[in-house]
């Protein structure tokens, strides 16, 4: 294993850990979504590192990264849409106050 790959994997793991902590510890919807973004970013770093240092000739790896980025963008759009609607309706995006959303 090359030191660059190890470094990249450590970075990805750090990002994932920070993101998971953020998502679980925060109560604000926007903050939770940012935690989720960090988790996904950690995964992306891992994917790119594996592609770059182990199989640079494999294009499906790149495609996979692109798809994950698209999912991130879509998730952000939907999440913020929900947050804005919630804020307009209740003036707050605190998730502890949104239990009724379970239906």
């Amino acid at each position: 294993m090359s030191p660059e790959l190890l470094l990249a994997l450590l970075t990805g793991a750090a990002l994932f850990g920070v993101g998971l902590y953020g998502a679980l510890s925060q109560t604000n919807l926007v903050m939770i979504m940012m935690g989720v973004e960090l988790i996904l970013a950690g995964a992306l770093v891992n994917l790119v590192a594996f592609w770059r240092f182990l199989h640079p000739e494999s294009y499906p790896g790149q495609m996979f990264v692109l798809i994950v980025m698209t999912v991130m963008a879509v998730e952000m759009a939907v999440g913020f849409g929900v947050a804005i609607a919630r804020f307009r309706a209740r003036g707050s995006v605190e998730m502890e106050e949104a239990r009724e959303l379970k239906g």
Binding site: L20, A23, L24, T27, L29, A98, E100, K102
Partner: protein, 605 residues
Amino acid sequence: MSALATTVLAPLAATAAILLLRRTPAMLALAGTAIGLAASLALLAGTFGGEHTVLTLPGLPGLPLRLLAEPLTAVLSVLVAGVGACVMIYAVGYMKDDPEPVRFFATMTFFLAAMQALVLAGDWLLLLAAWELIGLSSYLLIGFWYRRPGVPAAASRAFLYTRSADLGLYLAVFVLIGTHGGSVIDTSLAGGGPAALAVGLGLLAAAIGKSAQVPLQDWLQRAMAGPTPVSALLHSATLVAAGAILLIRSAPLLPPGALLATGLVGGVTTLITGLVALGEGDLKRLLAASTSSQYGLMLVAVGAGVPLAALAHLLAHATIKSTLFLGAGVFQHARGSTALDALHGAGREHRTVFAGFTLAALALAGIPPLSGFFSKDAVIAAALGSPYAPLLGPLALAGTLLTGAYLARALRILWRGDNRPRPLPGLAWMGTGFTILVALAAALGLAFPALEAAFPVGRLPETAGAQAAGLAAALAGLAAGWWIGGRRLLGPLLGWARRDFAVAGGLDRWILRPALVLAAACERLERKLYHAVLAIGRLGLRVAAAIRLGDERGIDALIFALVRGTVGLGRRLRALQSGLVHRELAITAAGTALLWIALLASAWP
């Protein structure tokens, strides 16, 4: 339209016309009867010319109905039509004051049509149907004055007696059709077959019922409750004659055993009913008993194997007996009763009628040269010449003797006594019919040679000994009846004769009680069957209830349990969804970690 069909249809059309128009019923009936008579005379002329006519009508599949004109049937048809016409003429006068002439004449013409169908029938099914129809119409006619006490009972009695005996005819006809494969009478006359004796006895049973033979004879005397023209017709040429006609027609197929039974039944009947007539206290009932007695003589002739003699006596008796009844009807109108006690001297009031009555009585007794002499001597000669002569001969002679005795007794009672002449309404019509019949009764004997010639087989047996014996018996009977009188002649037998020798109870004892016992047994059986059916029903209900229980407890419960389980599971799973984002995120993370561990553990070598 052929004469054959007209013979039957003319009276029937008269019935329909009378019922539809409801006026001048007497004239319509006369017209229908006259047309029928003309047609049957034409038929007779044709058959004596050697022509046999058959009219086939559609009937049951494979068993067509046939009307047949041969010498025997044509002669009988003319007899029915002729006597019917005379009686109808007489009835116009007799029923002048009756309030319901429509019903009377309609039934009379219907009766004639049915009887014509019976005598002309060429197959057993039509014969059976006509047999039933004359039973029905005689019931209607005997019960014509149904409001009078005792009349409905008499009509029902006549119907039930003849009806129960008819079962014999059904049995015989079914066996005949079964063994001969067809219902044509001519072909089944060949006889033989495995069940010939059963057939013969079945026919005999039917004839016993219809011809009022022992032990079923007493319905005939009770049937006197009907109007006198009805009695005249019933007794002479129609209902009662049907039994004898049946036996005469089917004589060729009777085996020796059945012939002997026929002869014995006839002989016993002629003796017993002769004695009954001797002790009778009512003119019409006396004549009725005499009818049974004379038909007994005919059965003797059939049993002796000479049906032609029976036919001759049937013809002679038909004219004579209708004459006697019509005469009795005149006396009845004169005195308002038929009891012999009330009729003392009635003959002296109406001397011409009495002369005709006497002429007919002498003819019936068998005095030459009247018709009864020839026919009765033929019967006696047949009885003496038969294989069973020791049995049948004395019975026939005794019957002849008794005939003379009871007729002489009746004549004496009618002649002796006070007389108060009274005008009688309708006597002209009654006299016309009566006169024609008297002439026929007297002169019919002259036609017997022609009758013999028409039948290729057989001659009327005629022996000097039989003639002498018959004449002696008749004269002795007449003398005894006139000078000694019925009651003294009967002596100790009088009480028995009044009670019909207790043989009339034969129906009660031998048929009615067994029938009641049988009915009770059937009733018990039916009750058991009924309970069995009910039990089957209850069993079915119980099975159904059990099945329903199985459905409810089993299948339904299973389905409901599944539903409840699903619903409960759903409720419990729903509790997982709290709406708390953190908790769910934590669960997700923990789940993912578990997945990881599982994946790693599985990937580990």
